[in-house]
C-alpha cells in the first residue's frame, strides 16, 4: 500500500471507531496499530511513542491548572466573582448575559479549561437566566461561547499543549492569547447588548456595593497575578506557576473563604487525578498517531498541498490552516488535533517565515472556535446538556455568534503586531527578539 492510502486508512479507522463509541484515545491507538501492520514499524516502538507523548515536563502544568479550576469551583469561591461581575455590568441591557461573559473573562484568568467554566455557569447563572426569560438555546450558546475564552486568556491548557509539543514559548502563547480572548469577550458583550434578550433591567450597583463585591472577589483575583507574574518575572515555569496557584488556593483562599471544604479535599484530589489523565492519555495516543503520520510523510504531503495553493504568503497560509482546523475541529478534540497536525504546522511556519507564537495564537483561537461548532463542539455539547436544551437548538442559537469568532481569527491573522505586542514587550525572546549587544534592550527582526 502507498503512504497516501495508509494515511487515509489510519484516519478512517480513527473516525469510524471514534464515532462508533470507542474512546478517542483507543480509537487513535487502534488506527495506528492497524496501519503499523502494513509497515516495518514494530508495535513495541509504537508503545514507546505512547510513553514519549506524555514524558514532557511542560505537560505537568495541565493537572495543576485543571486543579485550580476544580478547587475554585468545588469550594464555591467562584460565586464571589459572579457577584463582582454583576456589580460591574449587571445593570446593562441583557445584564445576566453580560455577567456570563465578564465572569468567563475573570475565570479564564484562573482556570485553563472550558469545561470548568461551562459547569460553573450552567449551575449558577443558567437557572437564573431562564427565570428572567432568556431562551435555553441562547443560554447554552452564550455559556459555551464565553467558556472558549478559557483557552485564550492565560493560563490556557491548549497553549501549554501547543507549546510543549511544538517547542514554542508557552509564556509567549499565554500573552499572545490575551488579544483574541479579550476580542471574543467584547464581541460577545456587543452581541448580547444589541441582539440578545433584554432580560430584567437592574439598578446600577452603588459604590459601596461595588466595593463589597470587589473585596469579596479580591482573593481569587490574585491568582492570575500570581500565575502571570511568576512566569513573566522568569521566576516560575508555567508548571511551577500552576502549583503555586494551587498552594495559594489551599493555604489562603479556602481557609479564609470556605474552611469547611477541606473535608471534601481528598475526594476532590482523587477526582482531579482522574480528570487530568483523560486529556493526557489522549495526548499520548495523539502523539503516537502524529508520529506514524510523520513516518508516512503525511506532513510533507499536506504542507506541500497547502503551499501549492497558498504559495509562501504567510497570511494565505494561515487562512488555509484556519480552514483546515475549522474542519478538523468539527470532528476531533482540540488537543489531539494540535498534536497530530503539529508537524504540518511547524513545516508551514518555517517555510513561510511566520513567528511561531503568532501561528500558535491563530491556531488556538481557531480550535477554541471548534468548541462550539457541530458535530463535536465539546463546550456546546456540555452547555446544552447542563441547561437541558437540545443540541440542535443550542447550535442554531450559536450560529450568529460565529461572526465574533471569525472577526477575532481574522484580526489575529491580519494584525500580528497587535497580537504580538504583549509577548514582544514582556517576553521579547519568545517572538524571536534577541538582546542588543551594543545597547540595552532587544532587537526584534
Amino acid at each position: 500500500m502507498t503512504n497516501g492510502l495508509l494515511i487515509v486508512l489510519m484516519a478512517f479507522l480513527f473516525l469510524f471507531l471514534g464515532y462508533l463509541g470507542v474512546p478517542v484515545a483507543f480509537a487513535l491507538i487502534a488506527g495506528v496499530i492497524v496501519t503499523a501492520a502494513f509497515t516495518p514499524v514494530g508495535l513495541a516502538s509504537i508503545m514507546g511513542q505512547l510513553f514519549n507523548g506524555i514524558d514532557v515536563e511542560a505537560l505537568l502544568a495541565v493537572p495543576f491548572f485543571l486543579m485550580v479550576g476544580e478547587l475554585m469551583t468545588a469550594a464555591n469561591v467562584t460565586t464571589r466573582m459572579i457577584v463582582l461581575s454583576q456589580a460591574m455590568i449587571g445593570h446593562m441591557r441583557g445584564g445576566l448575559a453580560q455577567v456570563v461573559t465578564l465572569f468567563s473573562m475573570f475565570f479564564a484568568g484562573i482556570s485553563g479549561s472550558s469545561a470548568a467554566d461551562v459547569a460553573v455557569l450552567s449551575r449558577t447563572l443558567g437557572p437564573e437566566m431562564k427565570r428572567e426569560g432568556y431562551g435555553a438555546g441562547f443560554i447554552a450558546a452564550l455559556i459555551a461561547s464565553a467558556s472558549t475564552m478559557a483557552n485564550l486568556i492565560p493560563p490556557s491548557i491548549m497553549a501549554i499543549v501547543y507549546g510543549a509539543t511544538g517547542n514554542v514559548s508557552i509564556g509567549g502563547l499565554f500573552l499572545g492569547g490575551v488579544v483574541p480572548g479579550v476580542l471574543v469577550g467584547i464581541g460577545l458583550m456587543i452581541y448580547s447588548y444589541f441582539f440578545g434578550p433584554s432580560g430584567v433591567r437592574r439598578r446600577r450597583a452603588t459604590l459601596p456595593e461595588f466595593g463589597a463585591a470587589l473585596r469579596g472577589a479580591a482573593l481569587p483575583l490574585v491568582i492570575p497575578v500570581i500565575i502571570m507574574g511568576g512566569i513573566l518575572s522568569g521566576y516560575f515555569t508555567p508548571t511551577e506557576a500552576g502549583v503555586v496557584a494551587v498552594l495559594y488556593i489551599l493555604l489562603v483562599v479556602i481557609p479564609l473563604l470556605n474552611r469547611g471544604y477541606f473535608r471534601e479535599l481528598p475526594r476532590e484530589l482523587a477526582h482531579t487525578g482522574l480528570l487530568y489523565s483523560i486529556p493526557l492519555i489522549t495526548i499520548a495516543a495523539s502523539s503516537a498517531f502524529g508520529w506514524m503520520l510523520a513516518y508516512l510523510r503525511g506532513p510533507a504531503v499536506v504542507s506541500g498541498w497547502l503551499q501549492a495553493m497558498a504559495g509562501n504568503d504567510p497570511q494565505m497560509i494561515m487562512l488555509m490552516l484556519v480552514v483546515l482546523f475549522v474542519i478538523v475541529g468539527d470532528f476531533i478534540d482540540a488537543i489531539p488535533a494540535i498534536i497530530i497536525f503539529m508537524p504540518i504546522i511547524n513545516d508551514l511556519t518555517q517555510s513561510a517565515d511566520i513567528k511561531p507564537v503568532h501561528m500558535g495564537v491563530v491556531i488556538i483561537t481557531t480550535l477554541a472556535f471548534g468548541l462550539i461548532t457541530p458535530p463535536y463542539g465539546l463546550a456546546l455539547l456540555m452547555a446544552a446538556k447542563f441547561t437541558g436544551v437540545r443540541f440542535a437548538r443550542a447550535m442554531i442559537d450559536s450560529l450568529p455568534i460565529y461572526v465574533v469568532f471569525f472577526a477575532a481569527i481574522a484580526f489575529c491573522i491580519y494584525f500580528p503586531d497587535v497580537v504580538l505586542w504583549l509577548p514582544k514587550h514582556f517576553l521579547p525572546q519568545s517572538v524571536g527578539c534577541f538582546p542588543n549587544p551594543s545597547a540595552p534592550g532587544y532587537i526584534c527582526p
Binding site: 471507531l17 464515532y19 513495541a44 508503545m47 505512547l50 510513553f51 487530568y276 489523565s277
Partner: protein, 146 residues
Amino acid sequence: MVLCGIALSGFTVTVVCDIVTRALGTPWLWLQEVTMTCFVYGVFAGTAAATRRNDHLYLALIAESMSGGKRMAIETFSRLVVLAVAGCMAYFGFINFLSGFHTFRMPSMTPLASFYAAVPLCGVLVALFTVEQLVNGWQHGFEDQE
C-alpha cells in the same frame, strides 16, 4: 481513582520541593525524576480508572441513542476494540519494558524500564475493566452502565 489522587498529590509535593530547594540554592535534581514518574503512572492509572467509569473523551455516543440488539452489538464491538488495544498495550508494552533495562535515567541511573512498566500495567488493567464491563453489559444490559 485513589491511585490517581496519590500520584497527583505526589507530584504536587515534589514540584513544591523542587521550587523550595532551588530557592535555597541546593536543588535536588532527582526530584524531577520522581515528579515525572508520579505524573506518568498517574496518567496510566487514571486511564484504567476512566475505562471502568466510562469517563473517557468520546467523539460521539451513537450507541446511547439506541436500544436492544443494535445497542448490544455496537457496545460489544467498541469494547472488543478497546480490549484488543489493551492487549497490544500489555504485550508490546511489555516488550518495550524489557528493552528499557539497557537505558538509564539521569542522574539516578534508574533503568527506563521502571518508567516503561506503566504502559503494560495500564494495558492489563484496561483489559480487566473492559472484560468486567462486557460481562456486566451482557448480563444486565449496557444502559445500566451509563
